[in-house]
């Protein structure tokens, strides 16, 4: 099915989901998954946990959809849930002191050379991201992974735009120090 020229506004989708529309919920998930993943990864530190947190957060958001007083700002509201769930998940992990899943790739079942390279890159990125503070990770991932602007990040993470820029600056510098310019170059080619 062809995508409509003007995407349906979040506000409309939220109203439809409130009435039980599975299609509207599907659209909301697809639209905001990457941002949710960025925030979850920023808090949890690894992709596998971040995916679990995202799944949990979307279901939680659906259950509490009546609490979303400003459906036009659904993304910011959702990300607050993601942050809380990710925070709880991290604490739960710390209590369990389980073996971290870093290095395990969600697509590790595939043994193609490209997927192996991708898994290796993911592992290196995760290790580099682990050197950042939680807000630095969240800002750099929202900005560079999902293309958010500082104003949107500031609104969603409840920080100032200046702070968002500072976090991004420090995050990128730390990532470059950790990964090296050649590795970053490698990523650019990979893209």
């Amino acid at each position: 099915m062809a995508e409509p020229t003007t995407p349906v506004a979040d506000e409309t989708l939220v109203e439809e989901v409130r009435r039980g529309s599975a299609a509207a919920f599907d659209t909301l998930v697809r639209r905001h998954y990457r941002a949710a993943f960025a925030v979850a990864l920023g808090t949890c530190g690894n992709a596998m946990d971040a995916e679990d947190v995202c799944q949990d957060a979307f279901l939680r958001a659906l259950e509490r959809l009546e609490d979303c007083r400003h459906p036009e700002r659904f993304a910011a509201w959702l990300l607050r849930i993601v942050r809380n769930r990710a925070h709880n998940f991290r604490e739960y992990r710390a209590i369990r002191a389980g073996v971290p899943l870093e290095g395990m790739s969600p697509t590790s079942s595939s043994d193609s050379a490209r997927d192996l390279l991708r898994a290796e890159l993911r592992g290196r990125l995760e290790r580099a991201l682990a050197l950042l503070s939680t807000p630095e990770r969240q800002v750099v991932l929202l900005h560079d992974l999902d293309g958010w602007r500082h104003r949107e990040i500031a609104n969603a993470l409840e920080i100032s735009e200046t702070r968002s820029r500072q976090y991004l600056f420090h995050a990128r510098r730390k990532l470059r120090d950790a990964l090296g310019a050649d590795v970053l170059q490698e990523y650019l080619h990979e893209a």
């Binding site: 989901v17 409130r18 009435r19 039980g20 529309s21 599975a22 919920f25 599907d26 998930v29 697809r30 998954y33 990457r34 993943f37 990864l41 992709a47 995916e51 995202c54 799944q55 979307f58 279901l59 659906l62 259950e63 969600p106 697509t107 991708r118 890159l121 993911r122 990125l125 995760e126 750099v140 991932l141 900005h143 560079d144 992974l145 990128r172 990532l175 970053l184 990523y187 650019l188 990979e190 893209a191």
Partner: protein, 118 residues
């Protein structure tokens, strides 16, 4: 500055469309029961919302008509009740008029009235 951007493509959960579809499907199937519940609620609430305006108008009209009718009935029954009591007790007409007007007659008025009545 675009060249400053860190390439997180390797971490992008949407980069592999098939895998992303699986992820979304896992979430939507987990949400199925809640969506069914919402549809059921919406069907009941929806009917109420659709009929809310006509129901409110009908209720308002009924209340107005009933209120007016009750007020008229109350007034006429009150008047009939007062005159009936006065007649039953054999109260003279001039005294009844004092009672209705809530007036206290002066001793002189009372004397004149009693004399006239005699």
């Amino acid at each position: 500055m675009k060249h400053d951007r860190v390439d997180f493509n390797a971490l992008d959960p949407t980069a592999d469309p098939r895998r992303f579809d699986d992820t979304v499907r896992a979430i939507t199937s987990g949400a199925a029961s809640e969506l069914v519940r919402r549809r059921a609620v919406a069907s009941v609430v929806g009917q109420i919302v659709i009929w809310r305006r006509p129901l409110l108008m009908a209720a308002t009209l009924t209340a107005l008509v009933s209120g007016t009718a009750l007020w008229h009935a109350h007034r006429s029954s009150q008047a009939a009740q007062t005159s009936g009591v006065v007649e039953a007790l054999g109260v003279p007409a001039f005294m009844a008029s004092w009672v209705r007007a809530d007036e206290t007659p002066t001793p002189a008025q009372l004397l004149v009235a009693l004399e006239e009545d005699r």
